[in-house]
């Protein structure tokens, strides 16, 4: 993973448009957040291998970045993205790593389903 280069990410987002793709979307404070700080309201959401097709997608912001994908009848978006990379199958991996080095958000797009 390396710090996001928006042009490269945008190019990849474009290449996955208008076809069936699998996405992984996750956001989390960690399962221990409320244990270490009982006043902390912990929340998260996770979807893995959802099959979608988007008309277009966009990366915006000055960093951390936001990515939105426009579906025929809906949307997918993520915010707080800092890093990008590609896996061995050419899937786009976007992640938001906090100042503490912990993953806070992930959005991944691929033509093949993710493992596990």
């Amino acid at each position: 993973m390396e710090p996001i280069i928006t042009a490269k990410v945008q190019e990849s987002i474009d290449s996955f448009a208008n076809q069936e793709v699998y996405i992984h979307l996750e956001t989390t404070n960690g399962a221990y957040a409320s244990h270490f700080d009982e006043k902390f309201f912990s929340a998260g959401a996770y979807i893995r291998n959802a099959k979608i097709s988007y008309e277009h997608g966009k990366i915006v912001g000055e960093g951390p970045y936001r990515v939105g994908l426009k579906l025929a009848i809906g949307w997918v978006y993520a915010e707080g993205l800092t890093h990008f990379g590609f896996d061995e199958k050419g899937r786009l991996l976007l992640a938001g790593h906090g100042f503490d080095g912990k993953l806070a958000v992930a959005l991944q797009i691929g033509k093949e389903p993710f493992k596990y």
Partner: protein, 233 residues
């Protein structure tokens, strides 16, 4: 109040995440292994959802499972665990699995291994949803056995309300004999423990009492069968 670790026939350790064994019970495991007692460690997931990926990141959501699998094997080696089983479930999903299947998974292990001691988490005092789901499955599986045939159940509790609601641990083991092995197990899970270890080693060096207590002593609670709060399925 210190307790001696009893000699066992067969120990079965069940936790959901690689590294769960290292923090709370690795000294106990190492002690059993030193005596030649067979120890099976069933680790239900690969901690696929671990959040320590670094910044700059050293791993991705997709590469983490393989990293943690290798770390788990190294930790098992550090503790001389001969029978490590990776059960193939997915991190953070255990409470959503079919509860019957979860209990069956444990029942099958009990039937095969006939452990004299099972080590896991204490339901209701285990903080992480995967810990709680594991703890419930263990209690349900053991509860299926006739009372006389049940293995001992030594459980780890660390919720903030443990002292007030569960009381003091029933068993406190001094594991300083196998301290180095415990540290080796913690180091094996370096992707998840790097920062914590740095801080911990500093505090140990300063002989910080809380840290020494936390590392050198391992605490277990017997399951309170007379106050069994795990629901029937």
């Amino acid at each position: 109040m210190l307790t001696e670790i009893e000699k066992e026939e067969q120990v079965l350790v069940i936790f959901p995440h690689p590294d769960d064994e290292a923090f709370g019970v690795s000294g106990t495991i190492a002690t059993h292994r030193k005596r030649g007692t067979p120890v099976t460690y069933a680790c239900l997931t690969l901690g696929e959802m671990g959040r320590n990926l670094g910044n700059p990141p050293f791993a991705t959501r997709e590469s983490l499972p393989e990293i943690r699998k290798a770390e788990l094997k190294n930790a098992a080696e550090a503790l001389d665990i001969q029978d490590l089983r990776m059960m193939g479930l997915r991190d953070k999903t255990l409470e959503f699995e079919d509860d019957c299947k979860m209990a069956d998974l444990v029942s099958n292990l009990l039937a095969e291994l006939k452990p004299s001691l099972v080590i896991s988490f204490y339901p209701g005092f285990a903080v992480h949803p995967d810990h709680e789901a594991t703890a419930r499955a263990v209690v349900r599986a053991v509860r299926r056995l006739p009372e006389g045939e049940r293995p001992k159940l030594h459980l780890v509790a660390f919720a903030n309300n443990t002292d007030t609601d569960l009381g003091a641990p029933d068993l406190v083991y001094d594991i300083s004999d196998v301290f180095e092995q415990k540290m080796a197990a913690l180091r094996a899970h370096i992707s998840q423990t790097a920062w914590m270890l740095k801080e911990m080693e500093k505090l140990l060096h300063q002989k910080d009492e809380t840290t020494v207590q936390r590392i050198m002593f391992e605490r277990f609670w017997n399951y309170r069968w007379d106050d069994d709060k795990v629901s029937e399925l």
